[in-house]
Symmetry: C2
Subunit: 422 residues, 2 copies
């Protein structure tokens, strides 16, 4: 069977089964998730055995240590997955929420309510926990899941899907709402991205190159997640005591994730005074500094090791302890820098001046603006969403951290008593 | 200059100018629209002369009468445009609306607020009124407009854009927020659809083939508008007196538009009694009937002219006085028919039975469900949006009629006092 036909068949199975989710009660969806959580708890040793198979095969094949770490499941990690599944089940129902409602002059009653997308494809990399996390978030939001994980995690994913399906068999939700797409053929990704009319939405989670493939290839609707070249701008009117821990936290708290900062912009009126302190704090924590001419001079005058930034530096998402530094003449120059090199993810301003803050908010054009706080707070869990399926880096539909609500769309429901249009 | 460079240049001009819209007051946007409306009123004869040029050229070139009618501007039509512009200016500000707000345990205050997309491209066909309507809706929602109209309307569009830009020159909004893309080269459409990073959103308005081109070609985010194969399902528990005018209105009120119904589905328990009346009402209004076997037999027994439906009939958006008729055994068969042949636009049910209505709402998976009323009510003006820029036929971001709010996206604004992530 061609991959196109295979995807169509899996999507069709998922679509038919999703009628057990559309219009299902919140109680039956919660029961289904608890059944999955229990089954995973009861099968830890089986899961660890399958994961061990993946680990051994990939270690022999020379997979890097950092990818092996993402692939690895431990009893503790598995129990963490189960705990977060139960947390998702405890959240309020994202379906059937009335977003707008009104009565028209002709007596028609109209409501705009949240409904599931239908069949949602996930394309993701090594981490097998995504197999369970995504299935549970999609189930809670009434969507069927088409899962395309990494071939490095193939045995782990197979066993996890098998356990989840068995668990669903005893519930009101059809086990067929979860479908695993074979990962041994790269071409199944293309087939999924072309399955227009069969798949309602595809979400890629992974590297920049995966996201680019998805954008270039997709004929189905997608939500782009990903790149974060985030900035911290320290204004002339900043509380400088507050600025230092915000910069350090934004850069060093977890440099590998998308909401870590890559560039520090400092107002020229305070740079001579502020930068020596800020740069030595960063430097003492092992941050490599890539500076524009002005900040480089300040660093050198103060005996702080720094390199000249290259034209590549400003647009690079390092993901490591490396940071760009530039001096700007005012908030508008900071905004222009952000517009040129940013990825519309998260931008932070440290300032006590309200008009400057307002201008930064109005013009920085990003998913989240942080005022006097760390870029690291753009995160579904931190923001109180309970569960996160990704961070959207685009403007259509969902922007920023995506929880259960982002996995719904809307329907207008109009109720009449025979009104017709004159 | 290549078309790719041309689009990049126009988009860049629009983007720079859009900083006068981002963060602009609602008063200054309203004043800009009133200035445009006044200028159009003051230049009616100039607009008519340019439109006359288009009409003469296209009539000689053999453009069809129906397209000539869409191309034509009259004094009355121009004043209608102006009136609707002023109505848009009178609507509430779609920007800066707080959608969510909360205070986190660490004291961070977070708001989710509406913001403009930025630079929005419109691709549309003959009607020159779209040039003004779209510009004004985009301006009111804080977006710059990149307009790619039809070459048949080139002189009309040129003069309208010129008048709007002159009008903006005297306001706080930069005239460069409106950019006209040359329509003499088909390739400018492709260039616009590829302008990733320069254009935030493209909306096509026009034929099915235009929409298909956009879906296949686009690398920029788009909102698909368009096809409506809408159904009316008359249930076993329907008020049959109510059903007839709903069917007739859905089909015949304005058959050329996307919210007109194409197919009537009738429950088998009432078909013998109900169909003779329904079909003769439709037939007497000149509707050509394409029937499945059961309804064909009923039509013929009652001396009503009808044809057998073909396999093509069920998925066709006629846009004319032609309708498909099928008998179904229950609401689930009606839903299955709609799933197979519908376009997720508008589906109507006529029923007095609440569980059946609820099942139809839950499973019909469309932008608008009409309960005991006509499909024709899926319309921004009827639904009270004031202005409509299109009807979205997709699930991402905007679904169904799109007014000013659909032309906005969101930003999280998080305010702290130095909180960092632990």
């Amino acid at each position: 069977m061609s991959n196109d036909l295979l995807i169509k068949e899996l999507a069709n199975k998922a679509r038919i089964a999703s009628s057990t989710l559309r219009g299902s009660s919140i109680e039956s969806r919660r029961a289904a998730i608890h059944s999955i959580a229990k089954a995973i708890e009861n099968n830890v040793s089986e899961i660890l055995a399958a994961n061990n198979e993946d680990m051994n095969r990939e270690r022999s094949a020379g997979l890097s240590e950092s990818l092996l770490d993402r692939l690895e499941l431990t009893e503790k990690r598995i129990l963490g997955i189960v705990e977060s599944n139960r947390k998702v089940a405890s959240l309020p129902d994202p379906l059937g929420r009335i977003l707008k409602s009104g009565i028209l002059p002709n007596g028609l009653k109209q409501n705009l309510v949240t409904v599931p997308f239908g069949v949602v494809g996930m394309i993701y990399e090594a981490r097998p926990n995504v197999t369970v996390d995504a299935s549970v978030i999609l189930l809670m939001s009434g969507n069927a899941a088409l899962l395309r994980g990494s071939s490095t995690a193939r045995r782990s994913n197979e066993i996890l899907v098998q356990i989840m399906k068995s668990a669903l068999a005893a519930t009101e939700i059809s086990p067929e709402v979860i479908q695993l797409i074979p990962s041994d053929d790269r071409d199944t990704v293309r087939a999924l991205l072309h399955a227009r009319g069969n798949v309602d939405l595809v979400i890629p989670r992974g590297s920049a190159s995966l996201i680019r493939t998805v954008v270039d290839e997709a004929l189905v609707p997608t939500i782009e997640t990903g790149a974060g070249v985030c900035h911290v701008y320290v204004d002339k009117y900043a509380d400088l005591e507050m600025a230092i821990p915000i910069i350090v936290n934004s850069k060093t708290h977890r440099p590998s994730v998308c909401n870590a900062a890559e560039t520090l912009l400092v107002h020229s009126a305070i740079s001579d005074n502020f930068l020596p302190k800020a740069l030595s704090e960063l430097s003492s924590r092992g941050v490599k500094l890539n500076c524009d001419l002005q900040s480089l001079e300040i660093a050198r005058k103060n005996g702080i090791t720094a390199n000249p930034a290259t034209s590549e530096s400003w647009g690079t998402e390092y993901g490591t302890l490396e940071m760009n530094i530039a001096v700007v003449s005012d908030v508008d120059e900071a905004i222009e820098h952000i517009r040129t090199f940013g990825t519309q993810h998260t931008e932070a301003i440290v300032s006590e001046n309200e008009p400057t803050i307002e201008r930064f908010i109005a013009l920085s054009d990003c998913a989240a603006v942080m005022v006097n706080t760390s870029t690291r707070f753009t995160d579904g869990e931190e923001m109180g969403f309970g569960a996160e399926i990704g961070i959207s880096n685009q403007k259509l539909h969902a922007r920023g951290p995506m929880g259960l609500e982002a996995m719904t769309t809307t329907t207008w429901i109009v109720r009449g008593e025979g009104q017709i249009r004159e």
